[in-house]
């Protein structure tokens, strides 16, 4: 029961299937094959044991398909990089990692696929194989053992065991599950929940809700099989996925009924979920990691407020002398655990709430935004917590006017939120729409092309871009890298780029090509940051292609001095003072 190879074979078929509905059907059928027929003539302990194993296999199958080697909520990981895996597999296959493996990975765009194909194809591997049947439960204990390894040799021993005892297909998925990332079969957790719903006969919406509450496909599947979905409940200090916003496209604008939406300014800070209760305060970031240690001042501030148990969604911004400071200032506090008094003084913080998830001992995510908002206002008012101001907008012109005002106040743009919407955790749909613009753009030149991975395997899809330092006597070279971009172009542009690149190759370093600097790209970005670890001394936040400028030549490339000028403008950007704040409401503190 719960044979790992059978599981991998189903994943492989799902990967080759185009229809999303059909994918879920296939997985549902597979889950059903793990289920115990309760009419079997088994009695007492035997039956209990078999049912227990079946439940665990079903839960593990769901977890491995969508969540990885460990439940996300455990925070457990295996510290093995893709290079370690590739080196170990190259070792087992007796091939040269640098010469052979790297070329194979470049062409496939996937280390796990390359390893799997090499194990399958190389004639020297066969005599080393000691195939043995793995169950899902055994695979789990293998992951456990791996996470408990304290040194390289122990890990290497387990890896060698995997290469020898699993089939190449199992190895491929084992590596992908281990990486806690996507299995690259076009099968997301939504589809897994659909399959689970089809198999267990439980409502999809209910499964989705339990998945949000538990944050785990394993727990969701387990509860579904045991018919215990009702027992799932919201727990303080277990963060839930954030609701996300989709960008407002031109197409949306014409079809949008503005009267159903309300606008808020979009703050340029750190998204944060605050859990308060039982004398404890915890802050969580968008990836659901606890970030309380980085912001002890904020934690202390919340503790001082002694709020009733509550979960707030909002933004941490840098705020000083009635002004919201540029993100660059706030950034100095990012990732600094237990910051010193000086840094805390230098960059004072403000939390601005804009949603409420839990209040008065129960979750309120299913209430419409208007109702949540009412509760939010009353809580914030009584405890003196800032919260976003809402604006009525009736057409796109009013959105634009608000957008300009928001920018002047140091904010990123505007959010449109549907008044009737529930809190759609972990989803990016049309219910929240964001309006923002890039902070600036630069004309840069392509210096290196990197082979893409996954969907973009086999093409050069990531590019290192250079800024001109030709007349800069701080540098010897003509161009220095200013950033790396891997998006913003169309498939057609990418094909044209790839053709052109082939004529410009100066050198090859594994998956990377050094190119003659000729292709000029107009790059847009969200901000310029000082970054001492780069040669240029600066890096760009979220750089992406705006256009490939076939019409420009390298002499048109912007210079590092241009970058420095833009940064000064950006840092010195004086945001409007909000003595009586407009972007948000700061309740009187009594």
């Amino acid at each position: 029961m719960g044979n790992f190879l059978a599981f991998c074979e189903v994943l492989e078929v799902i990967g080759r299937t185009r229809s999303t509905g059909r994918k879920s059907e296939l997985f549902a059928t597979y889950l059903d094959s793990l289920n115990v027929n309760r009419d079997q003539r088994l009695v007492g302990d035997d039956l209990d044991q078999i049912i227990h194993e079946s439940e665990i296999s079903i839960a593990l199958a769901c977890q491995y398909a969508g969540e990885g080697a460990f439940r996300k909520t455990t925070g457990k990981r295996v510290g093995i990089g893709s290079r370690t895996l590739a080196l170990s597999a190259s070792n087992f296959c007796d091939i040269d990692y640098d010469v052979v493996f790297k070329a194979c990975r470049t062409v496939t765009g996937s280390g796990s696929e390359a390893i799997s194909l090499l194990l399958k194809n190389l004639p020297g591997v066969k005599p080393k194989l000691r195939p043995h049947e793995w169950t899902l439960v055994q695979v789990e204990s293998l992951f456990e053992r791996l996470s408990e390894c304290r040194n390289r040799d122990e890990k290497e021993q387990i890896l060698q065991q995997v290469w020898g005892e699993m089939t190449p297909l199992e190895c491929k998925y084992w590596i992908r599950i281990l990486g806690q990332g996507s299995l690259r079969i076009g099968f997301d957790s939504r589809s897994i929940l659909r399959a689970l719903s089809r198999f267990s006969g439980q409502e999809f919406e209910q499964l989705r809700y339990v998945h949000m509450l538990t944050g785990s496909l394993y727990d969701t599947a387990r509860k579904a099989v045991r018919r215990e979905l009702e027992s799932a409940h919201f727990e303080l200090f277990r963060p839930v996925s954030f609701m996300l916003a989709a960008p407002l496209s031109k197409k949306d604008v014409s079809a949008l009924d503005f009267s159903q939406y309300v606008a808020e300014e979009k703050f340029d800070g750190i998204r944060c979920q605050v859990h308060v209760g039982e004398g404890r305060v915890s802050l969580y970031s968008r990836d659901l990691n606890e970030i309380s240690e980085s912001f002890p001042d904020l934690v202390e501030w919340f503790r001082f407020k002694s709020l009733t148990p509550i979960v707030l969604d909002g933004e941490i911004v840098a705020f000083e002398k009635n002004r919201i400071l540029p993100f660059q200032r706030l950034q100095k506090r990012l990732g600094v655990k237990n910051p010193g008094e000086k840094l805390i003084q230098e960059i004072p913080l403000l939390f601005i709430g804009y949603d409420l998830l839990y209040h008065h001992g129960k979750e309120v995510v299913n209430e419409p935004l208007e109702v949540r908002r009412e509760m939010l206002e009353s809580v914030c008012d009584s405890f003196g917590v800032s919260f976003s101001r809402q604006f009525a907008v009736y057409n796109i012109d009013e959105v634009r006017t608000l957008f300009d005002a928001a920018r002047a106040r140091g904010n990123e743009g505007v959010m449109l939120k549907k008044k009737s919407s529930s809190y759609e955790f972990g989803q990016r749909r049309q219910t929240w729409l964001k309006v923002k613009e890039p902070a600036g753009s630069l004309d840069v030149v392509i210096l290196y092309a990197h082979a893409g991975s996954g969907k973009r395997g086999g093409t050069y899809s990531d590019f290192t871009l250079g800024i001109s330092v030709r007349e800069d006597n701080r540098f010897e070279e003509e161009f220095v890298p200013i950033g790396k971009a891997y998006g913003g172009y169309t498939d057609q542009e990418l094909r044209k780029l790839n053709q052109r690149i082939r004529t410009l190759i100066l050198d090859r370093f594994g998956p990377t090509l050094a190119l003659r600097p000729e292709i000029v790209v107009e790059l847009e970005f969200d901000a310029i940051q000082v970054n001492k670890r780069t040669k240029a001394g600066y890096s760009l936040r979220f750089p992406r292609f705006r256009a490939i400028r076939w019409d420009l030549s390298v002499s048109d490339v912007d210079t590092l001095v241009d970058v420095e000028r833009l940064l000064i403008e950006q840092e010195d950007r004086v945001t409007e003072s909000q003595i009586k704040p407009i972007s948000f409401i700061l309740p009187d503190t009594k």
Binding site: I95, T108, L118, G458, T459
Partner: protein, 331 residues
């Protein structure tokens, strides 16, 4: 030992013999055309071409108007400075390897080749012994290993029948000369009506004259194509081919279909790893069998890896890097 120069494209020029191997060189007196794929054809019509009768026939269909000495397989032809003999290459109908014998030794140039040979070719056959070998290495990485053709054929037939049964029109993507006829031949036993892209149809007649069964094939007709098995090059997809058929399932047939990324990028219903080149391990085997004093690899995006493996097997190897093959090439 022969010195080499580039003849442009995939071509290699032997200045000593004034002989060009594929494409053409302005100083060449003779040009050997290994097979009739566009990227190997002569650049000008003034060269005196040596090719097999079928290759010549395909070249004529593609608009070649120059002079050609047709040379059947295993017949020796004396040129001014060397003798040449052709051997079947197994790539497409008419495809040939050339054995060149002169004072400089015995040199074999494979052109594009496949072993075991494609079922719609004259086979694959090597000469006894050579001093030097120029071999193509299009699929020059150990990730490339083909399944037996019987397994691929069974899967293709299953896909075609299942699609038809579900009310879908199956469309197989493969280029017009060679791959398309191989697909038709593999599906012929189904006895189902098949239609091929108009530009590929004239080549079918040549295959049929040569005695290959291409089943019930007709030229593509927009009005009647729904419900038949369709065969067309990938390039036809964006240009209106069967664009009115909404219930269609698309399968890609190529060696490049082996990687997940390529399959994903093309948004396919199926992919069959059906190549008309030898795989990496077959390439090593050919080198081992011939055991030449020197091997030159060509037509490869990964010369370093092929060289590495051949050298480990004890061969003397160099790479003719002036004729790389991009991964967009047909395969």
């Amino acid at each position: 030992m022969y010195p080499f120069e580039s003849a442009g494209g995939h071509g290699i020029y032997l200045p000593q013999l004034k002989l060009s191997l594929d494409n053409s060189h302005r100083e060449a007196e003779w040009v050997f055309i290994s097979h009739a794929h566009a990227d190997h054809l002569p650049r000008d019509r003034h060269s005196r071409v040596i090719a097999t009768p079928f290759t010549h026939q395909f070249m004529r269909l593609r608009g070649f108007k120059g002079e050609c000495s047709e040379l059947p397989f295993r017949e020796r032809l004396s040129l001014s400075k060397c003798d040449v003999t052709l051997f079947p290459a197994g790539h497409i109908l008419g495809s040939a390897m050339i054995l060149i014998e002169s004072d400089a030794g015995r040199l074999l140039y494979t052109g594009d080749t496949k072993t075991p040979p494609s079922p719609v070719t004259e086979g694959f056959d090597l000469p006894e012994e050579v001093d030097e070998l120029i071999i193509e290495a299009t699929f020059g990485l150990p990730i490339y290993k083909w399944q037996p053709i019987e397994e691929i054929q069974a899967a293709m037939q299953k896909f075609a029948l299942q699609s038809l049964q579900d009310g879908y029109t199956p469309l197989f993507l493969g280029y017009n000369l060679g791959k398309a006829q191989e697909i038709l031949h593999l599906l012929a036993p189904l006895g189902v009506d098949m239609q091929i892209h108009g530009a590929g149809f004239p080549y079918c007649e040549v295959y049929q004259q040569a005695g290959f069964d291409l089943g019930n094939v007709r030229a593509y007709n927009r009005a009647t194509c729904e419900g038949s098995i369709l065969v067309a090059p990938s390039s036809a997809l964006g240009s209106g081919f069967a664009s009115h058929v909404s219930r269609i399932r698309t399968a890609f047939c190529s060696g490049w279909a082996l990687t997940e990324a390529r399959r994903m990028q093309m948004n396919l219903d199926a992919a069959f790893v059906l190549s008309d080149h030898l795989d990496f391990f077959e390439l090593l085997d050919v080198c081992k069998t011939l055991a030449p004093k020197r091997i030159h690899i060509t037509h490869t995006p990964n010369p370093t890896v092929v060289q590495h493996f051949l050298e480990k097997a004890g061969h003397q190897v160099s790479s003719l890097e002036f004729s790389p093959r991009s991964e967009d090439a047909d395969g």
